[in-house]
């Protein structure tokens, strides 16, 4: 039993690429791109959210503290960062809705016999179009965000 456990421990990392596999840009299909973008945008949005909670806590310090914080964020780079937030949040939301549909087996197609060339029925055009829609809407939201932030209103 002990020997089996030791073998299990030594095999813990075998056949697993971990973060390297995650970041490897080869072998990317639309689904893998979506998987990668979902995680990347999620991490980025979590970091932004924590930063935003900290940023808005400057309200407690009064008018001067708030204006000093705004001076840091109301810059060209600050606006570009916000446009990235708009794009990533749009993609994450739309792709998240697609994943909820996939999780509840909607739009996956019917299971069939696996025949050569073994194309998975679940990776069909309905699912793929969800990824494209997410990417297109993210780009549109970023354009709208740019017009508001750089529109000089």
């Amino acid at each position: 039993m002990e020997a089996f456990k030791d073998k299990q421990d030594s095999n813990k990392w075998s056949n697993r690429e971990g973060l390297k596999g995650w970041l490897n840009p080869t072998r990317y299909g639309w689904e893998r791109l979506s998987y990668w973008l979902m995680r990347l945008t999620g991490l980025f949005l979590l970091l932004y959210f924590v930063g935003h909670v900290y940023e808005t806590s400057n309200l407690v310090g009064g008018l001067d503290a708030w204006n000093a914080m705004l001076e840091l964020t109301q810059t060209t780079y600050g606006h570009i960062f916000l446009i990235l937030v708009i794009g990533t949040s749009t993609f994450h939301s739309i792709n998240g809705i697609r994943l909820i549909f996939a999780e509840t087996a909607r739009g996956l197609g019917k299971p069939g016999r696996p025949d050569y060339p073994y194309e998975a029925g679940s990776l069909n055009n309905i699912q793929r179009s969800g990824i494209w829609v997410a990417l297109i809407l993210a780009a549109a939201a970023m354009l709208y965000g740019s017009s508001v932030l750089f529109g000089g209103e």
Partner: protein, 111 residues
């Protein structure tokens, strides 16, 4: 808690966060962007009880969804009992700290 229940919570908080954040963003867009960030305007928003409740909801929903997402990603990278326990404790603590800190801001500014 079963992992399937945790994932259901993940999806529900994601959808609810999407709706509440949409209202939050609309509040910024219905006034000119530069004006919407003026100190008096932001404080007035916080002092509206419904709006501060909305902000608290966003804080809780996004924290649960975001830190659970981080937990899932970290568990995808490595699986063993020690790591799972550490990830669970780390994400739970970070979530509670962010909720506590954000709630403090909402209570002080709206008071």
């Amino acid at each position: 808690m079963r992992e399937s229940t945790v994932m259901k919570i993940h999806y529900v908080t994601g959808l609810a966060a999407l709706l509440t954040v949409a209202v939050h963003v609309m509040m910024r867009v219905i006034t000119p962007f530069s004006m919407s960030l003026e100190y008096e305007n932001v404080v007035a928003n916080y002092q509206n009880i419904l709006y501060s409740l909305l902000l608290e909801s966003i804080l809780i929903l996004v924290s649960i969804h975001g830190f659970n997402g981080l937990r899932v990603m970290l568990l995808e990278l490595r699986q063993d009992a020690k790591w799972e326990k550490f990830v669970m404790l780390f994400t739970l603590t970070a979530m509670l700290v962010v909720i506590g800190y954000g709630t403090r801001t909402i209570i002080i500014v709206s008071g």
